[in-house]
């Protein structure tokens, strides 16, 4: 009898965990929400927040270890080169837990940034509070923010473009199109997209 009870409790707990796991995925920002500011350490040692003097930012949840991120690194550098002077710098945030994914440690981030000559801020969200607030679910995952008054408003959420394999095969530059709309005061035509990506390596709760 006791075994049955334990089995039932275990089934219930696991079931609730799965249900809440699914619900948790739907949290985070939607288009039009005000994005929270943060203060995260960059690979150069400085502390990075949403830029006060900019027009917005491209916040990209990123990492060292995901092949999709690696495929997009050069394009992230190009986006920063092209749009930082126009007021929309790239801020890449790695939220992966280094205990779960050792290749994503802060030291490895420094190495990656140096070898790829990242021009953008590459910051560490060790507590994972920022990614949870934004609702980032995979890498790479872009949040395009546009400043309205003192607020950073979420204007686009999703992929960089529609071909991770081949930059020359891209037919839809989602982020650039969204930026073009925002900079010209238009409503963003495609506000959200999805792409295959790597899971976030969440910190495991102490048993």
């Amino acid at each position: 009898m006791k075994k049955i009870q334990i089995g039932f409790i275990l089934t219930f707990v696991l079931g609730m965990g799965l249900i809440f796991g699914t619900v948790a995925q739907n949290q985070g920002y939607k288009i039009g929400d005000v994005a929270t500011d943060f203060k995260l350490q960059s690979v150069d040692g400085s502390w990075v927040s949403l830029p006060e003097n900019a027009k917005g930012a491209m916040v990209i949840f990123s990492c060292n270890t995901c092949p999709y991120v690696v495929a997009y690194e050069d394009r992230m550098i190009d986006l920063h080169k092209k749009y930082a002077p126009k007021g929309y710098p790239v801020i890449a945030i790695n939220a992966n837990d280094a205990k779960v994914s050792p290749g994503d440690s802060f030291n490895k981030m420094k190495e990656r940034s140096k070898s790829k000559k990242f021009l953008f801020a590459y910051v560490h969200d060790q507590s994972q509070e920022v990614i949870k607030a934004y609702g980032g679910l995979r890498t790479p995952h872009v949040y395009l923010l546009h400043k309205e008054g003192d607020d950073f408003i979420v204007k686009y959420i999703g992929a960089i473009d529609n071909n991770y394999q081949d930059p020359n095969g891209v037919t839809e530059k989602y982020v650039e199109r969204a930026l073009d709309d925002v900079m010209n005061g238009r409503k963003v035509a495609v506000e959200s997209t999805k792409a295959i990506g790597c899971t976030i390596k969440w910190t495991k709760k102490a048993e």
Binding site: N162, I196, T199
Partner: protein
């Protein structure tokens, strides 16, 4: 869309506890498919609970959970398992050599369409696109979707809930 079919025989030679050679053969299928072909596959009725596990050879959590799926399929003949690879369609040998190395029994289909935004919502609107992810289809056609890595217990729990 040109479909490449790779079918190969895998021969495993493992010494058993007596130090003798134990030879077994498995016949596993590998196929590169388009999204419409995947859609046709999932829309074909079956009396079994069909499982489509989205994975890639380079994805650690995916590779970790694959044996749970294979074991569950072995123990439970009411399910039909298919692995849907998100690997690079230009390099299918990465998948076939992985299958050989790991002795994968279930059919593997490489879904070769990188225009992801066009089809992720069609698989399931709740899917963010992160892998691993798994689509379950009951014999009556109703679907259930799980994003993220699963333990063996979680997988069995979901299957039992679908029965």
């Amino acid at each position: 869309m040109k479909v490449l079919v790779y079918s190969f025989l895998l021969i495993f030679i493992n010494p058993n506890s007596n130090g003798e050679l134990n030879q077994s053969m498995t016949d596993s299928t590998f196929q590169i498919i388009s999204y419409p072909e995947f859609e046709e596959m999932i829309n074909t009725p079956s009396e079994k609970i069909r499982i489509y596990n989205f994975w890639a050879t380079w994805c650690g959590p995916c590779v970790k959970e694959m044996p749970y799926f294979e074991k569950t399929q072995e123990e439970d003949n009411s399910i039909e398992l298919n692995f849907i690879s998100m690997d690079d369609g230009r390099k299918p040998e990465r998948v076939t050599s992985f299958m050989k190395k790991k002795g994968i029994q279930a059919p593997v289909y490489l879904l070769n369409d990188v225009d992801y935004n066009k089809w992720i919502d069609k698989v399931d609107p709740s899917w963010s696109g992160a892998i691993p992810a798994t689509l379950f289809i009951r014999s009556d056609g109703t679907k259930s979707f799980h994003e993220g890595e699963m333990t063996e217990d979680e997988l069995k729990l979901i299957i039992n809930q679908l029965k």
